[in-house]
Structure formats: C-alpha cells, structure tokens
C-alpha cells in the first residue's frame, strides 16, 4: 500500500490531538509514516504507533528552533525523498500551512489547505473544504505532483489502530538559504490549564456584551463547569479584555467543537467564519434581532449576567 507522510505537531514529544486525527484520515488513503522533528521521538512514536503510524522518521537539529519554518521544510523534503509518498498531510496551523506551501513549491505539487474531511478517490485523495465563512462546501483534488494537504483540527475522531511505529533516523541537511529568518527570542505561551481552543470539544466565548475584563470570570466559570475552552470575539480582544490568542474568527482561531456557546456576541460574518462549523451552537444575547440567532440550535434572549451564572449553577448541580 502507498505510504502517506504525516507531519507531527508536538510539544517536546507530547503529540497534539490534531496529529492523531491526521493519522486517522491518512489511513483512508495509505499507510501513515509520521515525521517527527525535535526531541523525544521515542515518546511520540509510542502514541503515533498506537494510532496507525507504521514508521516514525525523526530528526533533531538546533536549526529547527533557531530559524523560522524553512529548516523544517528541508527535513520534510528529506522524508519526502526517502519515502516517495502518495500524499503529505499536515495540521492546518499557521506553521503547518507555511511548511506545506514551501514543500509544495519544492516538489512541484498542488496544495489544499484547511480540509475538513479526506477520502480516497479514483484520482487520489479528495479533500472537503468549508469556504466563504462555511456557507459553501467544496470537494477538491490536487492534480499535479503529490497532494500536499493541511487539515483543520477536529475534522476526524482519533482512532486507535496499533501499528509498528518503528523509529528511524532521518538524515537532514539544513541549507544555508534556510537560515534566513532568525528567531531571536521565543516566549512560550503560558498554559491556562484549560483545553486548547482549537482542540476543545466545548468552547464558551464572550463578546462585547461581557463589557469589561473584570466580567470575563463569568464566562470562565461556565467554561470550567463544562471543561471547555474560553474564546472571545475580536471586539472583546481589541478592547483588551481577553488575550488575542483566544480570538475566534477569520483572523483568530477557527474552531469546530461539538458545542459552541456565544455570550454577548452579535455574530458578524468574520466571527461566524471561525465557528460556523461547530456541531451545536448556542447563543445568549439580549438583542432578539442579533444575527447569531440565525445560526443557533438553542438561543436565549436575555442578559448574559443573569443567564450565564444560572447556567453555570445548573451545570454544577447536574454534575454533582
């Protein structure tokens, strides 16, 4: 069976969930071979093998952390040359898309980004995309070269599929020309202890209606009662009430959870672009005319400062 390269997104060998989803999708189009760049490949290989990776190609070089993107493209290209895969899959993160783009140029292949589903077709993998703020669904193929496809988080449920996960060293030479953009300082994001926004099964977001940073704990308390991630609209972020990294929407994070709860958010097209593919949508807004209500499975017209705390209490009571 043809091999499919899967680029591994991890933090020090702890594989992130979108990669496990990629392995599930990869198995529909071939045999997954994972590419792990950085330290602790052995730890990663265990998890990757459990989810279907027949092989884990690994390389570690200081250049991966010292320069932006390009050294990782060199490494992925080495893996590509070694395997001659039927497709290359990467997570749709900022970095994942940039690595994918540069690899596509080098190997003369087409690229599809932000796929939300993947299936085998007669002429290679067929990718589903959700476009124009999720108002259209398209099916696309790469027609030249080896398909390079990036996949959005939460596009598939990770499935266990025990495979060998044999670790093999990959020889990588980082080109001089790949050392163009120096990372002079790197400040890792502080963990909030809550699930990662793009990976969370439930997201609770607050908007301008939250009316101040001092009120965001109302949103956080609901999120914590549900084990959810906290999101925000751009209006709330621009006002400095919540960090930009929590912004949901066109220029923020794109989320696709099982449940999305929007409190005090009107539902502008740019916000919808980042949450409209959520499975179940709930809104709390005091304006019955707010466009967000066009999207909801359940909406409450009311003051979020009444509804949200009452909901939090009810959730806690039910969970005991």
């Amino acid at each position: 069976m043809a091999e499919v390269l899967v680029y591994v997104d991890h933090v020090d060998g702890a594989v992130r969930k979108p990669t496990l989803e990629l392995l599930t999708l990869a198995r529909r189009v071939g045999e997954p071979v994972a590419v792990h760049l950085g330290a602790n490949a052995e730890d990663a290989a265990k998890v990757l093998g459990e989810h279907g990776a027949v092989k884990v190609l690994t390389a570690d070089a200081p250049e991966f952390a010292e320069y932006l993107v390009a050294p990782k493209v060199d490494a992925l290209q080495s893996a590509y040359d070694a395997v001659s895969p039927a497709a290359v899959l990467l997570p749709s993160s900022t970095e994942g898309k940039e690595i994918a783009a540069r690899l596509a140029v080098r190997i003369g292949s087409g690229i599809i980004t932000d796929a939300v589903d993947l299936e085998a077709g007669d002429e290679g993998p067929v990718a589903t995309q959700s476009v124009f703020a999720a108002s259209f669904t398209t099916k696309s193929r790469v027609t030249k070269g080896t398909p390079v496809i990036t996949v959005k988080p939460n596009s598939a449920a990770p499935e266990a599929a025990p495979a060998a996960g044999t670790v093999e060293q990959l020889a990588v030479t980082v080109a001089e020309s790949s050392k163009g953009t120096k990372i002079v300082l790197r400040t890792p994001r502080e963990s909030t202890g809550r699930p990662e926004l793009t990976e969370a099964a439930i997201v609770v977001s607050g908007g301008r209606g939250v009316n101040g940073a001092e009120n965001f704990p109302v949103i956080e308390a609901l999120a914590d009662s549900l084990g959810a991630a906290v999101g925000a609209s751009r209006a709330a972020v621009d006002a400095g009430w919540y960090p930009h990294t929590s912004q949901v929407g066109q220029t923020g994070k794109s989320v696709s959870p099982q449940l999305y709860i929007a409190a005090g958010i009107s539902g502008a097209i740019q916000h919808r672009a980042g949450m409209q593919t959520s499975k179940t949508i709930v809104a709390i807004n005091k304006d019955a005319e707010a466009p967000i209500f066009d999207l909801v499975d359940y909406g409450v017209v009311g003051d979020l400062f009444d509804v949200v705390p009452a909901l939090t209490e009810a959730v806690k009571a039910r969970k005991g």
Binding site: R102, A273, V301
Partner: protein, 261 residues
C-alpha cells in the same frame, strides 16, 4: 539608496455580500461587489509606516486579477502608495495558489524589490500561504504573521504571535513579510489622497511580459481542481426562548438533553 517596497494586494468579493461560485466552480465575481481585501489594508498601512521611517522609499502595489482589480490598486494608491502594477490576462481565470505565487514572484522580480509586504490571508481564499510560497520562489527569508514590524539598517524585525509562543524575528533584506490585523489600524484615504491616486501610474502586465506559460496558470494549468461546490443548507431554525428568570435552567436542560452535561 531607495528602499523598494512591493505590497501584494488582492481584489476580493465583499464578505458581507452573497458570495458564491460560478458554473465552472471558480469564484463568481460578477454578481457581488469586489474590493481591496480588508486584511491587505493592514499591509499597505505597515508599508506606509516603514516608508515614513525610512530616508527614501518607494511603494509599489501589485495585484494579480481581473480588470476590476484595478479598484484595489486605486484604494491602496489613495492611502499613499506611489505606483501600481496590475497583472491582468484572460488566461489567469481560475489560477490556484501555486500559479498565483508564480505570477506574483515573476512580477515582483521584474518590478525590483527590497521588501515584499503581504496581508496575513486573503478574505476569500483565506489560505494564508501566499507569503511563504513567495519566499520560497524568490529564495529570500519569510518573516510572516507579524503583529509588529520595523525596517532599519537593511534588516527587518518583527513579532510573531504563533500558536504556542510569541517569537521575535529578524532577517536581512530582501525579504517577504506578512502582517496581521493586530499590526495597527489602517488609515482612511484622505480626499487629497483620493485625488492624487487618479494621477499615479499603474503599469499593466500580461503573462507574456513575465515569461509565464499559459499552461502554468488558469483553470487548465492549476495544480488543484475543484470538483464540487455545494451551498450549505440553511440551518434549521433553532429553539429560541426569552429569559424570564428560567433561561439558564432551560438552557441547561437543552444541554443535558444533548448529552453535554
């Protein structure tokens, strides 16, 4: 020596309009108003600020698109850019990301550059890959997704708010930069700016001028193919209740019914 800045700007269908696909599954540009991608206004703004901080700089705005894409150039010129380049050719219809990056790279090389500035993503395709594609094709550093950017002493520096960390980046010119909507509000064109823009030169280029083969662009030459585009069915109307003291509890019951709690 003058700092040559090229800003890539895309002409896109208005996101607040009713966007859809034409019969050949390319974007329908006839039935919906087009404009300069709002996210490229941030790129123009940063280019203007870099120019203002430099001794001597010139800003060229570049677009690849149909005749109407000229509107996007005029908007950028009215904000303060110096001249425009419009790559327009019937064979471009349906070009994908690889093809667009090829045409942009050739046009940038022809124009001459020290710095290329792009938006973080277009508001239609929204792939966010063009800047990386350009850096690869031009073989220069990519300094992308910046919320802060500065150019001095032949170097570009910037701040990238990544998925897991914030990074401070540095590269020697020439380089390709992309800026996010956190980089600072874009200025409105003044009346004087709008009047001046009418007199600014816009050079028109065809594929022949760029030595790009017709089979590398357009629908036929694309590296990707769209086989199907279907409008998402309207959501079935949800339940909407008015809070009269019980809204929170009712919502909890709904969530319990859906097995979320």
């Amino acid at each position: 020596m003058s700092l040559r800045i090229v800003v890539c700007v895309k002409y896109v269908p208005d996101a607040t309009g009713d966007r859809h696909f034409a019969e050949d599954l390319t974007v329908d540009r006839d039935d919906v108003d087009g404009l300069l991608s709002e996210l490229d206004e941030y790129a123009v703004e940063q280019a203007l600020q870099i120019k203002e901080a430099a001794d001597d700089a010139e800003i060229t705005v570049l677009t690849v698109g149909p005749e109407d894409a000229n509107d996007a150039l005029r908007k950028a010129l009215s904000m303060g850019a110096d001249k425009g380049v419009h790559v327009e050719d019937d064979d471009l219809h349906g070009t994908d990301a690889l093809g667009t990056s090829l045409v942009l790279a050739k046009a940038i090389e022809k124009t001459g550059y020290d710095l290329v500035v792009c938006g973080m993503a277009s508001t239609d395709g929204g792939m966010g890959v063009l800047p990386a594609l350009l850096a690869e094709r031009l073989n220069v550093p990519q300094v992308t997704q910046l919320s802060e950017v500065a150019v001095a002493d032949g170097k570009v520096t910037g701040r990238r708010d990544g998925d897991t960390a914030t990074e401070q980046l540095e590269a020697a010119l020439p380089a390709v930069v992309s800026v996010t909507d956190q980089s600072g509000e874009a200025r409105y064109p003044s009346f004087k700016g709008i009047m001046a823009a009418k007199k600014k030169p816009v050079e028109s280029l065809e594929l022949d001028d760029l030595d790009v083969e017709a089979d590398e662009v357009g629908l036929e030459g694309a590296w990707t193919a769209v086989d199907e585009a279907t409008e998402r069915p309207a959501r079935t109307a949800g339940t909407i209740v008015k809070d009269e003291g019980e809204g929170g509890k009712q919502l909890a019951e709904f969530l319990a019914g859906q097995k979320f709690i």
